[in-house]
Symmetry: C2
Subunit: 291 residues, 2 copies
């Protein structure tokens, strides 16, 4: 089963794009599992399926809520990550929301995470210069040496705006934002004219108990004609086929790499895994093994 | 001659979309005047022309930098305002940048200014509900009673986010931002899903000596799929013909109203007029009469 940063929003009791989780009820989220019994055409015992019923050991899934996945291409868990919702989020954010164009220099925050690691790799595979930020020396090494980002830095090593300016002295054209806060302010300061921001997430703010300061340089959005655009992947499943074909091929031939942080211990271990995810204990997609 | 908020940016010594003004040199900007002598075809003594040579009493203008204007449609000064650059800025910001759509509720800050007053009126003429903010009771009355905005409020009367929420209890869909700062934060808080912001100016921040706090609710841009887009009118002169035709017709038949704050005293009076503009002493377009 998957733990994803977006779930944090469902733990606030307020109106959002998905209803809040309810006290005393099972949490929902992505999961992959083996079919043990089926009354539906197209699903046989032994098949591997993806569904959204989440935090439970055994699920009764309606056929229309289940999707067979191809475990010859990648392990089942990859359909919760690089080949699943986080992967599509990276693909759509970079290509459709930020409208990646030839020659763009791209900055990705949360570059060692499930979404950021793919966003950066897609940009690299399309020939772009890519800069990434992450939260530990190990993650920085992973992003640079294994994923092939041109530059990576640890945001603990100094002000993000200074590190970004040093990494991209001629500025950036696209910012893929998973983090918000000081990363967003730094990116606005480094974006070139007509720069674009895909606002995907804001993990630095999710657990804040006081309002996080906003970017103090919003006036620069006018003069440099910047675009900042938020999106939610639920709106973009029409892009799934193109994503699955393109990224699937890259996964198959090894040009896209991915890691998973797998937590054992079943559903009981999932709350701590989720807490650890929000403080960045994962590299790549974090999943919990149920059995 | 025109004084415009964008000129403030040219008084900072930093790279921007236009070069900074130079110490000891004449300032540039929009102006209209009567041709007293001409060596160019198409310009005769007595013609009225618009040019960009700005802060001077007599200008030697190249033909390619001059444009004849029709003083039978509106007074010459209108070509510095409702029928000129500020008017085009309103038109493009609302229609192209914010992509005004049927049913949108529109909020305009700086609603008594040259740009805001036209942006709101265009939205009204297209059938939208329009809310405006301004900086004095007189301006609020002008915006509501003379320009026909549905609701107007004085931003001195209380927190903008509270006044906006009261004015638009079901939220807004488009925000035309002339002000930045707390107005932008309030608008983000009130924007409905898929809401759009045309970021035209940020007058609340231009004279700030310390960094102005940014919007503390940028994370809401993600969940509600908002778009914030900055623009500079220089990029959009391809829209001038459509603008001149549509808004020209509305000015001709009186459906678009406009005021001017005319300052006498010639070029000597222009610096104080500019300072007064930045603190909102004008209603409608502020111009300086040279002779």
């Amino acid at each position: 089963m998957s733990v994803d940063p977006y779930m944090r929003g469902r733990m606030n009791d307020r109106k959002s794009y998905v209803p809040p989780f309810q006290l005393g009820e099972t949490l929902y989220g992505g999961a992959v599992g083996e079919v043990v019994d089926s009354r539906a055409d197209g699903f046989e015992p032994g098949d591997t399926v993806l569904h959204q019923l989440g935090w439970r050991e055994i699920s009764v899934v309606e056929a229309r809520q289940a999707q067979n996945v191809d475990t010859s291409l990648a392990p089942a868990s990859a359909y919760l990550g690089v080949l699943g919702m986080p992967g599509l989020t990276a693909y759509v954010g970079l290509l459709d929301i930020a409208q990646l164009r030839e020659g763009d220099v791209v900055f990705v925050s949360g570059a060692a995470g499930a979404v950021g690691s793919l966003a950066g790799q897609i940009a690299k595979l399309r020939g772009h210069t890519v800069i990434g930020s992450a939260g530990s020396p190990e993650k920085v090494a992973y992003v640079r040496d294994e994923l092939g980002f041109d530059v990576a830095f640890d945001y603990h090593d100094g002000p993000v705006h200074k590190q970004l300016r040093a990494a991209a002295p001629n500025g950036i054209d696209v910012y893929f934002d998973n983090v918000g806060g000081d990363h967003l302010e730094a990116a606005i300061g480094s974006l070139n004219t007509y720069g674009r921001v895909a606002m995907c997430g804001s993990i630095s703010t999710y657990n804040a108990t006081e309002a996080v300061p906003g970017p103090r340089n919003m006036f620069e959005v006018v003069g440099r004609r910047l675009s900042l655009r938020g999106y939610i992947i639920l709106d973009h499943y029409d892009r799934h086929a193109a994503f699955a074909q393109e990224v699937g091929a890259w996964v198959r031939d090894g040009r896209v790499k991915f890691r998973e942080t797998i937590v054992d211990g079943g559903v009981q271990a999932a709350p701590q895994a989720f807490i650890d995810l929000l403080r960045g204990a994962n590299t790549g997609k974090m999943v919990v093994r149920i059995t």
